[in-house]
């Protein structure tokens, strides 16, 4: 069977048995999710890349030393490592680090459709950057659940346990996060239209 068709669980087993290609597939499959989870917490591209490496180094050591516990999903496990490292970093810093989201990025790094026009790439990247800013504006408890569920792929039960709240509270926070985000995006569009037609 082609390696890209294998489940995460089968890839982990193959990697532990010595197949490095299986690890490469796991990295490529989950790097975006893990990276975004970290980035939305630390808000700095370079720090996020350092923590991404640290996350995978921990995962490599755990799997290769036979300590990997095949209980939950691989993606939830690796994202939980990433989330913990990012939170630890954030607490060590004791302040919100300077936002270098866009300065430290390469636009072609984030886009797979290089045949698009430069202008449409720019607009798309600006929209996506604005979305990341709006996520940062959410109340901390809502932002935390949103990152854990949508980007770190943790279940609501896992989030409830990790944050010490009931599953209903975790669900409620996620719901408000989605509603708030939608409102903020609608306000953005309304402001854009107002500017456009007042010219």
């Amino acid at each position: 069977m082609n390696i890209v068709q294998l489940s995460d669980s089968a890839l982990v087993t193959s990697y532990i048995a010595g197949n490095e290609s299986a690890f490469e597939e796991l990295v490529n499959r989950h790097k975006s999710k893990v990276f975004t989870t970290i980035l939305l917490i630390v808000k700095d591209t370079y720090t996020a890349e350092d923590l991404l490496q640290e996350t995978f180094v921990k995962a490599i050591h755990t799997m290769k030393s036979g300590r990997y516990n095949e209980e939950g999903k691989f993606s939830s496990w690796i994202c939980r490592i990433a989330h913990n490292l990012a939170i630890d970093y954030f607490r060590r810093e004791k302040r919100s680090p300077m936002i270098t989201l866009e300065d430290g990025s390469n636009v072609f790094n984030t886009l797979s459709f290089s045949e698009e026009s430069v202008e449409s790439i720019r607009i798309k990247e600006e929209t996506h950057a604005r979305l990341r800013e709006l996520i940062q504006l959410l109340p901390p408890a809502q932002k935390e659940v949103l990152i854990m569920r949508h980007y770190a792929d943790m279940s609501f039960q896992e989030i409830a346990e990790a944050t010490g709240v009931s599953i209903n509270t975790a669900l409620g926070r996620m719901r408000y996060a989605l509603i708030n985000l939608r409102k903020k995006m609608s306000n953005d569009i309304a402001a854009y239209d107002k500017n456009l037609y007042s010219e």
Partner: protein, 76 residues
């Protein structure tokens, strides 16, 4: 009797965490309950937009991780 669904049920539904039986009941309810369907659409649109925030790390970092793995040989 028609089951009443909460907004939290919708969130669980969107993230595929609702048990199968409840999921099927909710899908039935969405066909007849306009208000519930509108709430679900709003949440779904917000959820879909979140995928646009995904970012990729640089190739350099990705390659460094893959290379590092090849240098590690630990045994259980």
């Amino acid at each position: 009797m028609t089951k009443t669904f909460t907004q939290n049920d919708l969130v669980q539904y969107l993230y595929n965490e609702l048990p199968r039986r409840q999921r099927l009941q909710l899908e039935q309810a969405l066909m007849v309950d306009q208000e519930l369907a509108e709430s679900c659409t709003d949440l779904l649109l917000a959820q879909l937009s979140l995928d646009n925030a995904f970012r990729q790390p640089s190739d350099k970092v990705t390659n460094a991780i893959i290379s590092y793995s090849k240098t590690v040989s630990l045994h259980p």
